[in-house]
Each structure stands twice: as structure tokens, then as C-alpha cells.
């Protein structure tokens, strides 16, 4: 009995030391908060796991429209991507911007997703339909809800779901696009040659 009380007291003491130590560290202001100093590996790994698990759980039950792979969605989503996303997530032919360099965590370059980002480990980047579907739902969720403390805003409050699905559809094809194709697909205006004779 005496032994177990000593055991509990020890655990309580260790917990108290951690709590007080943690509190002192929080209030000391010694943690580097600047975006130009990366997290240590442990913090980075913990936050990344927290983010990915949270998004995967939240996006699991989303129903993607069946008609995502259409030219109409590419044109609508491309124009919005160019206006709202390309500054951070880049466009074909561009490898960095002030935002992609300065933001932390660094926004992913969506034009050059790793060849094997399908997660099947075969290095072909093809992925199966299930992985593709999960990626699309993940992208939809991230665009709609944003990600805390990352610079990624929630576009949901100001953009309806259809418009966000258009962007998700465009993201799926973005890594395949050349700079010329990207320019044509994302331009909001009409072909200028059409207007020359008017």
C-alpha cells in the first residue's frame, strides 16, 4: 500500500514538473516563432501527423461529383486557381515565388507533385482510383476549410461547393499541363484575335 502511494506521488510529481516546466517555457517566449526558423523535427513530425490525420478523417465521407473530368470544370477551376492559388502554389514554368519561399510551412508546389504521390510505392505515380478519389476529396476539403496556422485560407465562406470542386478538378490535371496549356486554360478573357475585327 505504502509502495503504491509512493508510486502515485512520483508520477504526480513528474507530471507537475512537466506542467510547470511547460508553462514556464510557454511564458518565457524562448520558442522561435518566426517563419524563417523551422520547427524542430519532433514538433514538425507531430504537427504534420496531426494535420494529415485530421484532414483524412474529415474528408473521408465527402461525396465527389461524378463529372469532375470535364473541360467546363477545368476552365472554371483553372481561372480561379490562377487568381487565388498560383501565387503560393505556383504554375507551370515557375519554381518559386515570394510566398513559396517565405511561408512556413512552405506551400506545396502543386504543379510538380512527386511522381509517386499516389502512395502505392510503385513509383509510377498512376495510383488507383481509390487514391485518386481520396486526393480529390482531400483537396476539396483543404480548399474549403483551409489549414490553421499555415497561410492556407478557408475559401468555403466565400465560394460555393461547385466552384471549389472546379478547382479540385483542375488540381488533378495541373501537374500534366505545360506552361502554354496552363496559360490558355486559366485566362479569363477571350481570344484577343476574336476582337480585332470588331
Amino acid at each position: 500500500m505504502k509502495k503504491s502511494i509512493m508510486y502515485i506521488k512520483s508520477i504526480a510529481l513528474i507530471a507537475a514538473i512537466f506542467l510547470v516546466g511547460g508553462g514556464l517555457f510557454l511564458y518565457s517566449g524562448y520558442y522561435p516563432m518566426g517563419a524563417d526558423v523551422p520547427h524542430n523535427q519532433l514538433t514538425h513530425k507531430l504537427l504534420e501527423t496531426l494535420r494529415e490525420r485530421s484532414i483524412a478523417r474529415a474528408a473521408r465521407d465527402i461525396e465527389a461529383p461524378a463529372d469532375l473530368n470535364t473541360s467546363e470544370r477545368l476552365l472554371a477551376g483553372g481561372a480561379d486557381y490562377n487568381d487565388m492559388c498560383a501565387g503560393c502554389h505556383l504554375k507551370p514554368g515557375k519554381t518559386e515565388s515570394d510566398f513559396s519561399i517565405g511561408l512556413y510551412p512552405s506551400p506545396p508546389n502543386l504543379t510538380s507533385i512527386a511522381d509517386d504521390d499516389d502512395g502505392d510505392g510503385d513509383g509510377d505515380g498512376d495510383g488507383d482510383a481509390e487514391n485518386d478519389n481520396a486526393d480529390i476529396k482531400r483537396n476539396f476539403w483543404v480548399i474549403k476549410h483551409g489549414i490553421k496556422a499555415s497561410g492556407m485560407p478557408a475559401w468555403g465562406p466565400t465560394h460555393d461547393d461547385e466552384r471549389i470542386w472546379n478547382m479540385a478538378a483542375f488540381l488533378k490535371r495541373l501537374p500534366d499541363l505545360s506552361a502554354d496549356q496552363y496559360q490558355i486554360l486559366t485566362a479569363r478573357g477571350e481570344d484577343s484575335e476574336e476582337h480585332h475585327g470588331q
Binding site: N69, A76, G78, R173, L177, I184, G189, E190, G197, Q198
Partner: protein
Amino acid sequence: MKIKTHIKVITLSALAFAISAQAHDPKEHMKDAQEPDCAAMKDMDHSKMDMDDPVTQAMMKKCMKGMDHDKSENDQTSDEHHGDKESSEEPHPEQQKDEHPEPQPN
């Protein structure tokens, strides 16, 4: 009195919401809208283009009008070179849009 205050608050909130929503309308982006560089598409190898691919279809939709315009301009120039005066007096193909409507991109 209370009802009047409520109406004012609701009206102001609705107005603020409407203004914020309007700011994200695609039309707002049209002020500095880029034009598609369809000349680049003309240089592409069309035989290698997959016409079933939504990317190709989207590019065609975006550049179709300009390409049609070019085509009809070429036809017209060709007619003029052949000395067909009457054809040059015919209305410009773009003026006949109503008779031959072109498919419009969404």
C-alpha cells in the same frame, strides 16, 4: 422600436454579406483578365492531341473563336486573291454569327 432596431441590424448584416460575396464573384477578376495565348496552340502538333482529353477540349473551347475567325479571314483573303469582288462585298463572317452560331465556351 425594438423591431426597427432588429430590421436595421439584419439589413446591415445582409448588405455586408452581399458586398463580401460580390467581391469574390469571377466578374471581379475580369478587370485585369488575361487573354489566352492561342497562337501557342497553333504551334502545337495537332496530330498528337487527344481530342477526348478534357484539357484539349478546354483549349479548343477557349481558342475556337479565334481559330474560326482566322480560318474565315484566310478564306476571304483567298477569295480576294482570286479576284472575286462580290465575295469581298459580302458581310464579314463574324457579322453572320446569328445565322451560323458558334459553340460558346461556358
